[in-house]
């Protein structure tokens, strides 16, 4: 293993010495090997460990240490082979299981990595690194809940493990638990301020929470500390846009496009920022540059299409929306805007096709139903138009109810704070009725019901909440 990515702890940065059983000669070679290893004389250490396993092929610990040294020497495949020998000889050798699992993770062999890591964690539940790597594997395999559990165990076992806090934060973010994600990422940054990726992830999480001011502050520091970290610059620009500081966002993006002249995303984001500053012409130029630099990016032709539409260049706009669709056929927004242009050009049938395609891709695209209704009204098909309008209204009501549910949950929590549990339950029930897919509504209702002793109903509500948001805990 040559490259050790900054986001993970180094497997081979530590060594857990074990005085292993074995034949005396083998033990002598083994001991010599550990001394040489401590002296960083890896070649000699390798020789010593090889001598140990030659003396005693059944000495699992020696195979493990040999594998460890081979890993440090960059001979990963050989290292894996030795670890495998070690665990085959002694399955309860925790170090070997850990080394094997972690190395397999590094070589992206997730399926193979899981079993040895699980074994290592079972053998040594308080071994932070084993839990850490197991968490990474589970996340790669899409088991976010499992990943969070392992990473939580890792930070509990070793609160100073910055990488574990970072990965926990990222996993929680993916799960939707933004508040706890932020807390974990803040811890990662506090433990190791030099970690650009941690600060960058923290900035993203803050943006997700809507705390634009803190996101800007965090990302600015990241960029100042790591000027070559392009992603942080991009995110800083986005945070500035979120905070409404379009002028500064433009400055950030311009600086990035000057440093990275082929960064299509930077030009694209620059275009967005310029558009918000009403610099239409410059926005168009930026979008066109992004379009040229990245033939695969569908957003650039789409955004350019919107600019062209708004400046009344309908044919060109339609062409751009079609270009976006050629890059991403399932681009609902592009179908919708193409339909809008076609509708304005009087091509009702083509417009309807695009609006219907929009809905096929995204059945909740309210505006598409409204537009269908308008086209059908103009085409003198009032019945079909009425159906479309009715669906738009239903979707709008769902959105409105969803927002009302958020407020109802808040009102319920305020009542709880005042000790009015009944009143709180009533508000939480309102929230559930308004938005049955609101996890917090079910969750808060569960907690409130539990306080009244209605445990069965509380449990049921909790299960509903967990189905929607697995990170919620009873």
């Amino acid at each position: 293993m040559v490259i050790l990515l900054a986001t993970a702890i180094c497997v081979f940065a530590q060594s857990t010495s074990v005085v292993a059983p074995g034949k005396p000669a083998a033990r002598a070679h083994y001991s010599r090997g550990t001394v040489l290893e401590a002296q960083q004389d890896l070649a000699a250490a390798e020789a010593a460990y090889r001598a140990a396993v030659e003396s005693d092929p059944g000495m699992a610990a020696a195979h493990d240490r040999l594998g460890f040294v081979l890993g440090k020497l960059g001979r990963t495949a050989d290292a894996i082979a030795e670890f495998e020998r070690a665990v085959a000889l002694q399955p309860d050798l925790a170090d070997a299981q850990y080394h094997l699992g972690a190395t397999l993770w590094w070589t992206k062999q997730m399926e193979a990595a899981r079993k040895p890591l699980e074994r290592a964690a079972a053998l040594r539940p308080a071994h932070a690194e084993s839990r850490y790597y197991l968490g990474l594997v589970k996340r790669e395999q899409g088991d976010i809940a499992g990943a969070v559990e392992e990473l939580r165990a890792a930070v509990k076992a070793d609160p100073s493990l910055a990488a574990a806090h970072l990965q926990l934060g990222v996993a929680l973010q993916a799960w939707g638990d933004i508040d706890n994600a932020i807390a974990a990422l803040e811890r990662a940054v506090a433990l190791d301020p030099s970690r650009a990726d941690a600060a960058n992830s923290l900035g993203l999480a803050l943006m997700q929470k809507g705390d634009a001011a803190r996101a800007v502050e965090t990302l600015r520091k990241t960029v100042d500390r790591h000027p070559d970290f392009g992603s942080a610059r991009l995110n800083l620009g986005t945070a500035l846009l979120q905070a409404g500081d379009t002028a500064s966002a433009v400055d950030v993006y311009r600086a990035l496009t000057e440093r990275e002249t082929t960064n299509a995303e930077a030009f694209y984001d620059l275009g967005l920022a310029l558009k918000q500053r009403d610099d239409f012409a410059a926005a168009e130029t930026a979008f066109r540059t992004a379009l040229r630099l990245d033939p695969a990016m569908p957003e650039a032709p789409y955004s350019l299409g919107v600019v062209l539409w708004q400046t009344r260049r309908l044919d060109e706009a339609a062409a751009m929306f079609r270009e976006a669709l050629s890059r991403r056929p399932e681009y609902a927004d592009a179908h919708y805007m193409l339909g809008t242009v076609l509708k304005q050009q009087g091509d009702r049938d083509a417009a309807l096709r695009e609006f219907r395609e929009t809905i096929r891709i995204n059945p909740s695209f309210t505006e598409a139903y409204t537009s269908i209704g308008q086209v059908l009204t103009a085409a003198r098909d009032p019945e079909a138009a009425a159906e479309a309008f009715a669906e738009a209204q239903r979707l709008n009501k769902r959105k409105a109810d969803s927002q009302a549910a958020v407020f109802a949950v808040n009102a319920g929590r305020e009542r709880l704070q005042k000790g009015d549990v009944r009143g709180a339950i009533a508000r939480f029930r309102d929230a559930v009725r308004l938005a049955p897919d609101n996890a917090q509504a079910h969750y808060q209702l569960a907690l409130a019901l539990r306080r009244t002793g209605a445990v069965t109903e509380a449990r049921a509500e909790y299960e509903s909440a967990r189905r929607l948001a697995p990170y919620l805990r009873w």
Binding site: D197, T238, L272, D278, A400, V406, A411
Partner: protein
């Protein structure tokens, strides 16, 4: 792991971002024809100096602190001079007894100054005032006043001798609970000659339970702000039928007014959308499809805004509608609709196609060039009297908290004046006009009327936590005009709902006498036509609210004429210079 969050790339975000730098779409100065009008703020010298108090100055806890107030032009003493009524508000903290701010009534003295006669007139009421509308609901020759509140609306009967009486309860308009009344309009929907009353309602807001900024649920560009309207219960609009005996009957449900596609009503204007002689209503709804109530001729209304294309933006999205202007900007004989919206969005120009449909011409007409400003009061007015209706918009952000942000437009914002080029296109001429239009204010309601009777339509503007503005319009005498006062006899006296067709030198124009308008405000009932170089009006045709059609020929330009229903003759009055 390196993660990058892609910026939002939805059409909404992009549309919100569209604009052209003000002035960038203009021709070079030497190519632009000179503007034939300008404005001067005469509020201070006129004595229109009352402060409009409205909510917290630096931060607002509830949305009720953000809406500001309306203004109304009303000739309450029948002396031929427009007086000015300015609605006032309050604060959450309230005031000691006797110290609460009150509404203002300014009597026009005719010499360019006004006198504060609020107390004398019996209009010194306090509270969360919202809008005002004017109408002689009992046809006794004196204009009455209806004032909406977050709280309880009030009907003031003009008793003569410079005094008003609060007849709310006696008229059957009392309320049993708090409601949030906003834009209103008097109009005769059943053509019985008596003015009925419509009041929009915004939010069913209970301050005891509404979420606050501290909940963190409501943010604008990351800053906690007052919550709503999405997530809150919408108010239900109200319609009251005038029984003719000084009382009104609530026909809100019976009439179908409460069955609309959207809610959160703000600006209101009457108009005859389908030109069938029965007055309709347009309501700008916030964050919801707007409402266009078509009069069914039988005491009921149907909201046709969605099906007619007058409800949403050009790409099908609900907008934060605030103010409404109605006028025939393209001179095709149909009443078009203009609506002001939120920052990051365009205003909306709906061309009335005449077939019962709206054609959104926002971008085609050049209106889409501005999205930075947050619009409120507005009107179509022919400021240069070239025969084409221009547009005037009052702006100001909703949240005073935006002062913390480095956004371009800020909380206090400039106005916008769009000049109509006569080819279906508008040009933003605000920068060319300069101050006072470019002076940033937190503007809200605006009433349009000729307070100095010089033939130019002036503008009164209510600002949040600031003094009222009174812009005197200064025009170019090279272009001519005519102003008409319509007096109903069997129709309602104000002639609200009348349609006026002006023919002059081959040019045809149409206007109406309207109730409500702008943002929670009431404009001058007089109809003002710009005649360009024509020195006379060849013919005026009036379709009265009750259906009678009459015409008058050969009216002098640059004059005020009074047209009485049934008389067929105009009373000519020279203008005051």
């Amino acid at each position: 792991m390196v993660a990058v969050l892609r910026a939002v790339r939805s059409a909404a975000a992009l549309i919100a971002a569209t604009a052209i730098v003000a002035g960038s779409g203009h021709a070079a100065p030497q190519d632009q024809p000179p503007l034939r009008f300008s404005f001067k703020n005469v509020a201070a010298e006129a004595g229109v100096d009352g402060l409009v108090t409205f909510g917290g100055t630096a931060a607002n806890k509830y949305l009720v602190e953000t809406t500001g107030t309306g203004v109304a032009f009303i000739d309450y003493d029948q002396d031929g001079l427009l007086d000015l009524f300015v609605v006032n508000g309050t604060t959450l903290e309230g005031f000691p007894a006797g110290k609460a701010p009150t509404n203002y009534l300014y009597r026009n003295k005719g010499n360019g100054t006004f006198e504060n006669v609020t107390v004398k007139a019996g209009l010194a009421a306090s509270g969360w005032g919202q809008g005002a509308c004017v109408g002689d609901y009992d046809n006794d020759g004196r204009d009455d006043l209806f004032v909406t509140y977050y709280g309880r609306n009030r009907l003031y009967h003009n008793a003569g001798q410079g005094r008003f009486e609060d007849v709310t309860r006696a008229a059957g308009l009392g309320q049993t609970r708090t409601r949030w009344g906003t834009g209103c309009a008097f109009f005769d929907y059943d053509r019985d000659g008596r003015l009925d009353l419509f009041a929009a309602n915004y939010i069913d807001l209970d301050l005891a339970t509404a979420p606050t900024p501290s909940s963190g649920l409501c943010r604008y560009k990351g800053v906690p702000v007052a919550c709503g309207p999405p997530g809150l219960d919408g108010g239900k609009n109200a319609l009251f039928h005038n029984r003719g005996n000084g009382t009104f009957e609530d026909v809100s449900d019976k009439s179908g007014i409460t069955r609309a596609s959207g809610t959160f009503g703000l600006g209101v204007s009457t108009l005859d959308f389908d030109d069938d002689g029965w007055v309709d209503l347009y309501v700008a709804n916030d964050s919801n499809p707007s409402a266009l109530y078509r009069n069914n001729h039988d005491g009921t209304f149907t909201d046709i805004a969605v099906t007619s294309g007058c409800a949403y933006s050009q790409d099908g999205k609900p907008q934060a509608g605030m103010g409404v202007a109605v006028g025939d900007y393209d001179r095709n004989g149909t009443m078009d609709i203009f609506k002001t919206n939120f920052a990051g969005d365009t205003s909306t120009l709906y061309q009335n196609s005449g077939g019962g449909l709206c054609d959104d011409r926002t971008f085609a007409a050049g209106i889409g060039m501005n999205t930075r400003w947050l619009g409120w009061g507005t009107a179509f007015v022919d400021f240069d009297h070239d025969g084409w209706l221009d547009l005037f918009l009052v702006n100001g952000h909703v949240y005073p908290e935006v002062r913390q942000l480095k956004t371009e437009a800020g909380y206090e914002q400039r106005k916008i004046v769009y000049h109509n080029d006569g080819k279906g296109h508008f040009t933003d001429v605000t920068e060319r006009l300069g101050a006072p239009l470019t002076t940033p204010k937190a503007g809200r309601g605006a009433a349009f009327g000729d307070f100095d009777n010089d033939g130019q339509v002036d503008v009164a503007i209510a600002n949040v936590n600031d003094r009222t503005d009174l812009y005197r319009t200064i025009g170019d005498p090279a272009n001519h005009w005519v102003a008409l006062t319509l007096v109903g006899t069997s129709s309602n006296r104000n002639a609200i709902g009348a349609r006026v067709h002006c023919v002059s030198a081959g040019v045809q124009q149409w206007q109406e006498v309207r109730g409500g308008g702008s943002y929670m405000s009431q404009n001058d009932f007089r109809v003002n036509f710009g005649l360009a170089q024509a020195k006379k009006v060849d013919r005026i045709e009036v379709r009265w609210p009750n259906g009678l059609e009459e015409s008058w020929d050969n009216l002098e330009a640059d004059r005020f004429h009074t047209l009485k229903e049934g008389s067929g003759r105009a009373a000519t009055t020279p203008p005051k210079h």
